[in-house]
Symmetry: C2
Subunit: 227 residues, 2 copies
Amino acid sequence: MSAEALKEKAAQEAIKHVESGMRVGLGTGSTAKYAILGIAEMLKNGDIRDIKAAATSKETERLATEGGIPLFEIDGDGVDVAIDGMDEVAPNLDVIKGLGGALLREKIVESRAKLFVLIGDASKRVSRLGEKTPVPVEILQFGFDSTRKDLERLGCRPVLRERDGKPFVSDNGNPIVDCYFDEPFDTHAVALAISATPGVLEHGMFLDMAKIAYVAGDDGVIRLDRP
Amino acid sequence: MSAEALKEKAAQEAIKHVESGMRVGLGTGSTAKYAILGIAEMLKNGDIRDIKAAATSKETERLATEGGIPLFEIDGDGVDVAIDGMDEVAPNLDVIKGLGGALLREKIVESRAKLFVLIGDASKRVSRLGEKTPVPVEILQFGFDSTRKDLERLGCRPVLRERDGKPFVSDNGNPIVDCYFDEPFDTHAVALAISATPGVLEHGMFLDMAKIAYVAGDDGVIRLDRP
């Protein structure tokens, strides 16, 4: 089965958690896209109604609007369910996200979800975070080099993300550094240390957040639950 | 002695730490202003030379430029000495800063100083942080209400800062909430929790950073050292 077909299968399972009247957090990226398209279709078919959605990026906002999904800005009540893709998922459902660059808004929305559901294909499963991918960190341009130096002291190689030979810029107008850890590390301790680093806006470790993951492989979609 | 005269006296002591060839972090606000003016005068008089300074706000950038102090953007080498005012100082030299609104850039620069020197008048001394002033927290506009709600869960009353009846906007374009704690709180635990809250850019507790404070009262200027 193609990678695209796997993503769509995982998304199809996740959107079953969306019910009429719910506030929904919409993720960003090539897998989340299928959830957005699926929810738009459920609305069109009349399978659900009266939902409103908080988008985690301008791209998602565009997709939702095209699909006729009413949008709102997330407020103090959060969302009932959020669905998003992932770059790496550990056995306990801790994930690394943000290779797409939307980590800051994703974390703002998804940390305020009653139920946060992950979707992806089986290639995303790892035994520990950082095994295959770096930890993306969105930082301020002001003091960039001094902030990168501080991140380096945490034991990683922080590399400025580029696109087409120029520094990548997030929806919030900031650069992202991808932090490569060569050795296993204490995810909770490092997450706190990164957050406490002046100049850091957000990092891509989403810990203790997701309750369910739908992972699509050639044998079908399996559901993983947070232990 | 007038409040302005006290501020100037404290600043005059602090700038003695600035030597030729140094990289200097310049704070922001009505007290830091006297340090900037004093350093400009030392340069003009030839008492020091070859310094360069990292400014913590647009206002400070303007003052330094007017005073002929060469500016640079802080890099991985940090600064040799940083001098800044404070809103509240505890006996161990932990401080609350940011009532002026420059906390984010101040923390980026001052956390990377080999020597961080505080200045202020005696009214700033408290027995514990939060005694008189709130903890300012700079947050993203995106998801503002959900972030404020999360801060409330940490045990404070977060109040949107206004100026002339409109939301105050920082040099970085963000709103600030002032978090009032009615009870004593664990500063280190709360600082970490605030930093880890999605949507938070920085908070105004500067812990374990300052080594020296010059505090001016009617009896003169006293020097406090971090225990």
